[in-house]
Symmetry: C2
Subunit: 334 residues, 2 copies
């Protein structure tokens, strides 16, 4: 990306092993993330030009001398933060905040090849080479599924709970899927877009709310005996969506927020809301083994969020389609 | 209170039973809360003149027709929010946000008598009439002990955990006591005041940190292998203290915040902190039976936070002493 709205596909040198813990992978598929739209829309500024992309699934090409757990030929998935998976923070399940964390987005996986640091801690191999039609689901595990799952877990979705989701992007929709998988009794998706509503229902939503902001909050309250939802997933990242999430949650309930948060939160309102707030960059690595297993056994099909597939060369069109909400999520074929 | 800094003790009509669920109590002791200093200092504005005080322990004088669980002559303690203790929010342990909650502060317990709404849900009797020297501890249970306990519980203080406390007022000090009672391995009190440090140690603090703000954060990091504390109690309520608490917490750790929050929180920093945030007006009622039992058995002595005792008539001096930090907490004898 050369600046807001300016995405170009260029030939760059192939990545090489730089550190003994590195692996180089050949991407089977990559994609555009909702969070890539922040710089695309000019809300966040990077040093331009910036390599883009942090979601990846593919085949190991080469490994550094220290790498023990993956080998060339393995099909692997990793998260958007490389992590050693051994430090105290990783062991507590917060690999995205590993003391040695490296953002894979700074390397850029909207590419044919990518160097992945800390390969042993970061990459998780599938039980075997997946069929091509399963690749989109494994790619989804790299971020949007793992992030939606973390949001549902952070919101303490589970049996007996009513869960509401703010945001109908890929993460919000997969938060719906995760909430149902975690046993939630009722899952309310907030969406005004017909195809996204349909996918939400397919993923397990029991109710759809089309109202937004305080009107949406009022409907959630009405649906929950006046109390608000037990668990709310925030998957947008604006101040408005965060307040919508907090206000939709009953006192003592849980907000799991994974949209990259912008703006400020009014502390007094947050205080009197009495909710639990937990979120941040999802520690996807925590969930990867389980997610890979669910996908491998065809128990979930998160790849359905990809409603547009383009060759990598047309990355600019993929950004455009997502920016204009013509696509939920665009898969790029390297 | 007639306005910031203007506290007067006046004769007012004795409270009467207004609703069948009411009780009228004769206060054995009352006190000034750190949160009473917000209007005293002009930070928060009320409709003047405002009755003051929301902490109380005393003897039931009279009950309304519906009251079943307490009777005249019982020594009782209640929280600063009256609650029915039966609604879904109460049953989940969030009585301060009961759907029928009534703020006792609007009635005012810095008085000889007080009307307590929803007496069955609100008041908890002691096993018998306490010795006078135990009254301060029971009074502490009404707010500062219950609030400190909630903060420690919200911060998930427990075995194996390092807990840090921001704020050395009565709530912060009793948060230290609660963290130790909940089994925390290490409890770091942040305080620059010698007598408060001494009381923190008496309540179980293992370390004292005198630095504040980002310097304090750096010391907490240093004491915790660079990670930050597992659990942090925030008991001040300013934007600075909240950021100090968040920054002192490791990713995935828990902040329990009970200082009445002011200002705003930067959402992006909160997002990347990866902490759990939970707090608000403490549901003291949830903890009262256990706290009363611990005090009755003389296992804890939270009444030690009262380092100034004055007759109710001298309430203005009590406010002054707390405002100037000459007293940790002032008990008023009605």
């Amino acid at each position: 990306m050369y600046g807001p709205g300016d995405v170009r596909v260029e030939d760059r040198p192939d990545p090489k092993i730089e550190q003994p813990a590195d692996a180089v992978i050949r991407l089977s598929a990559t994609c555009v993330c909702g969070s890539d739209l922040w710089p695309y829309r000019g809300t966040d500024s990077y040093g331009w030009p910036a390599p883009m992309g942090h979601e990846y699934a593919g085949v190991v090409e080469e490994t550094g001398d220290e790498v023990r757990t993956v080998k060339p030929g393995d099909f692997v998935i990793g998260s958007f933060f490389a992590s050693d998976n051994t430090c105290e923070i990783c062991q507590a399940g917060y690999q995205s905040r590993c003391t040695r964390a490296e953002p894979v987005g700074a390397i850029g996986t909207q590419a044919q090849y990518a160097r992945i640091p800390l390969a042993d801690g970061t990459l998780v191999p599938t039980p075997g080479l997946p069929d091509p039609d399963m690749v989109p689901s494994f790619l989804a595990a790299s971020d949007v599924l793992g992030t939606g799952w973390f949001a549902a877990a952070a919101a303490e979705a589970g049996p007996g709970k009513t869960v509401a989701g703010v945001g109908d992007g890929a993460v919000g929709l997969l938060g719906v899927l995760a909430a149902r998988q975690l046993g939630a009794e009722r899952v309310i998706a907030m969406s005004r877009h017909e195809p996204r509503q349909a996918l939400a229902r397919e993923f397990g939503a029991t109710d759809i709310v089309t109202e937004r902001g305080d009107d949406g909050v009022a409907v959630i309250k009405e649906l929950t005996g006046g109390y608000g939802a037990h668990s709310v997933i925030e998957a947008v990242g604006t101040q408005e969506s965060m307040m919508q999430a907090i206000r939709s949650t009953r006192p003592g309930g849980h907000v799991g927020y994974v949209g990259v948060s912008h703006g400020t939160l009014p502390a007094t309102e947050l205080f009197f809301s009495g909710v639990h707030l937990h979120g941040g960059p999802a520690p996807v690595r925590r969930f990867l083994p389980d997610l890979i297993s669910l996908i491998w056994q065809q128990k979930i099909d998160p790849g359905k969020v990809f409603d547009l597939t383009l060759p990598l060369e047309q990355a600019a069109s993929a950004y455009q389609a997502m920016d204009q909400r013509r696509a939920i999520k665009a898969l790029l074929q390297p």
